[in-house]
């Protein structure tokens, strides 16, 4: 009898564990689940990349290329096709303006791919340890030209010939622009 209780308890605990796992995306299903998983993967990649760019872990060009290829494969059409019109089922964090500003959304998705490709090509251009942690200095002048919105779009061909920090920063800005414009703020 006691053994039976033990077994039952273990079974209950296990089923709870399974539930917790199923709830990692709060019960997301279908395309919403798919894109939330990919966003999580991108976040993990960016975390690893950031650690290398900040000099917290050893910079490994081959690993950077792998991550860059993975990121670029998730951009462009692969990204936009995960956002069929009005797919806002809970727990989606997408904002409906994705579909009213589709062109902008599409543009950011394809930027992710082109900047990630630039990162892949520039992975070998890292010289020595980065002291600034890859942080660009942007001192703005108060005029009406370039300084007020996000960094002007950079030519991926140019970025490919620069240190990888440049492409990396453009990737982070692409993520940020997309989150700012199209991800629901926390409530």
């Amino acid at each position: 009898m006691r053994r039976l209780t033990k077994v039952a308890l273990v079974a209950i605990s296990l089923s709870m564990l399974v539930n917790v796992n199923a709830n990692a995306h709060g019960g997301a299903t279908g395309v919403v689940k798919e894109r939330m998983t990919i966003m999580e993967t991108l976040g993990k990649s960016l975390k690893e990349l950031t650690a290398m760019m900040r000099g917290k872990t050893t910079y490994e060009p081959e690993r950077v290329r792998q991550i860059a290829r993975q990121m670029s494969s998730h951009g462009g059409d692969s990204m936009t096709k995960l956002f069929p019109k009005d797919s806002l089922d809970k727990p989606s964090e997408a904002r409906p303006n994705i579909w009213t500003q589709w062109g902008k959304f599409e543009g950011l998705a394809s930027q992710l791919t082109s900047y990630a490709k630039a990162l892949e090509k520039s992975a070998n251009n890292k010289s020595g340890a980065s002291t600034s942690g890859g942080m660009p200095q942007v001192q703005g002048m108060m005029n009406n030209s370039g300084m007020m919105t996000n960094m002007p779009e950079a030519d991926p061909e140019l970025l490919a010939n620069m240190p990888p920090d440049a492409a990396y920063i453009h990737i982070t800005q692409t993520c940020g622009s997309c989150h700012e414009g199209f991800r629901k703020p926390k409530k």
Binding site: G43, Q137, M142, G181, P185, K186, K187
Partner: protein, 316 residues
């Protein structure tokens, strides 16, 4: 006779009470004392002022960046519990902007929350923080604001719910919640810590979102940085040292996130902090990012102000 006396006596008491209430009401709607800065002899520098604008979020709020609006020509709608605010056009256009203001008007609006026509300004404009700004920063900022091209047109009028749309109400609000305590340098603290304290409590106005507010929108200053509500009801996280440590944030992480938007978990800020990074902190100097992180990550952000006496304020 006695009745008559009583009648007149009672009348006088009632009259006195009414007069007192009227006076009290009048006193309330006058708002707190305006403390004008003595800015004589200071020269403004446009470039430094542009940097001060980045420190204080002027551009982020007064420019509708997403809609491609002109710089300082009026910002995007800010939704709050009290209704919608539209940050005004502050370009030098004399009709739609603030072209007919002078430095004294600007400084008064910034540090006392009163417009040149005597209106008490809604505290969505964070003058309760700007009241801490150093004289030189104000003069530089004014030079920068004057330097942008004038733009015609202005955003819509604020759409505020009754009774929050009244400027007299704001005067009363200011009497209740507008505390001005000087931030004198604390000599036993490092230079970076003091600078960070100035930035956080002054121009950068972290507490505007990260400190909870009461029902009337007054900040619960004893719960500094314990998390609050941002524009549109956005949940704003706590940035107390305890909360940051629990979230495994280091000082370096904080600096890095304010420079790039990348958080330690690999996520990139969206929401209002995304805007803060892309329109403000991204442009800060390394020293200033280090300073604010030094202060935020220190365990005594509530360090008492050196003096409570308003007249003794020093803003050099």
């Amino acid at each position: 006779m006695t009745h008559k006396k009583l009648f007149y006596g009672g009348g006088a008491v009632v009259l006195a009470a009414v007069a007192l209430a009227a006076l009290g009401g009048y006193w309330l709607v006058q708002g707190p004392k305006i403390i004008d800065r003595d800015l004589r002899g200071l020269d403004g520098d446009v470039n430094r002022g542009a940097y001060v604008a980045r420190l204080s979020g002027c551009i982020a709020c007064h420019t509708d960046i997403k809609a491609g609006g002109k710089v300082l020509a009026g910002g995007a709608k800010i939704s709050t519990d009290f209704g919608s605010f539209y940050p005004p056009n502050i370009t030098p256009d004399p009709v739609d902007g603030i072209g007919d203001w002078d430095l004294v008007d600007f400084s008064r609006a910034l540090t006392s929350g009163v417009s040149p026509n005597g209106q008490h300004l809604f505290p969505s404009f964070p003058y309760t923080f700007y009241a801490q700004m150093k004289n030189q920063d104000i003069v530089d900022l004014w030079a920068a604001v004057r330097s942008v091209p004038p733009v015609k047109g202005k955003p819509p009028k604020h759409g505020l719910r009754f009774p929050f749309g009244s400027h007299e109400g704001v005067a009363v609000w200011q009497r209740m919640f507008f505390e001005r305590k000087p931030l004198k340098e604390i000599s036993e603290k490092s230079k970076a810590w003091n600078r960070g304290r100035y930035l956080a409590n002054g121009p950068a106005h972290c507490g505007a979102c990260h400190t909870p507010r009461n029902l009337l929108g007054g900040r619960k200053t004893k719960q500094q940085y314990e998390g609050g509500k941002g524009p549109g009801g956005e949940k704003i996280p706590a940035i107390t040292i305890e909360a940051l440590k629990a979230g495994k944030w280091s000082k370096d992480d904080l600096i890095y996130a304010m420079r790039t938007g990348v958080k330690p978990d690999g996520d990139v800020f969206g929401g209002s902090m995304g805007e803060v990074v892309s329109d403000a902190t991204r442009f800060w100097s390394d020293q200033d990012l280090d300073a604010i992180a030094t202060y935020i990550m220190s365990d005594n952000i509530m360090y008492p102000a050196a003096s409570k006496k308003e007249d003794a304020l020093v803003y050099d």
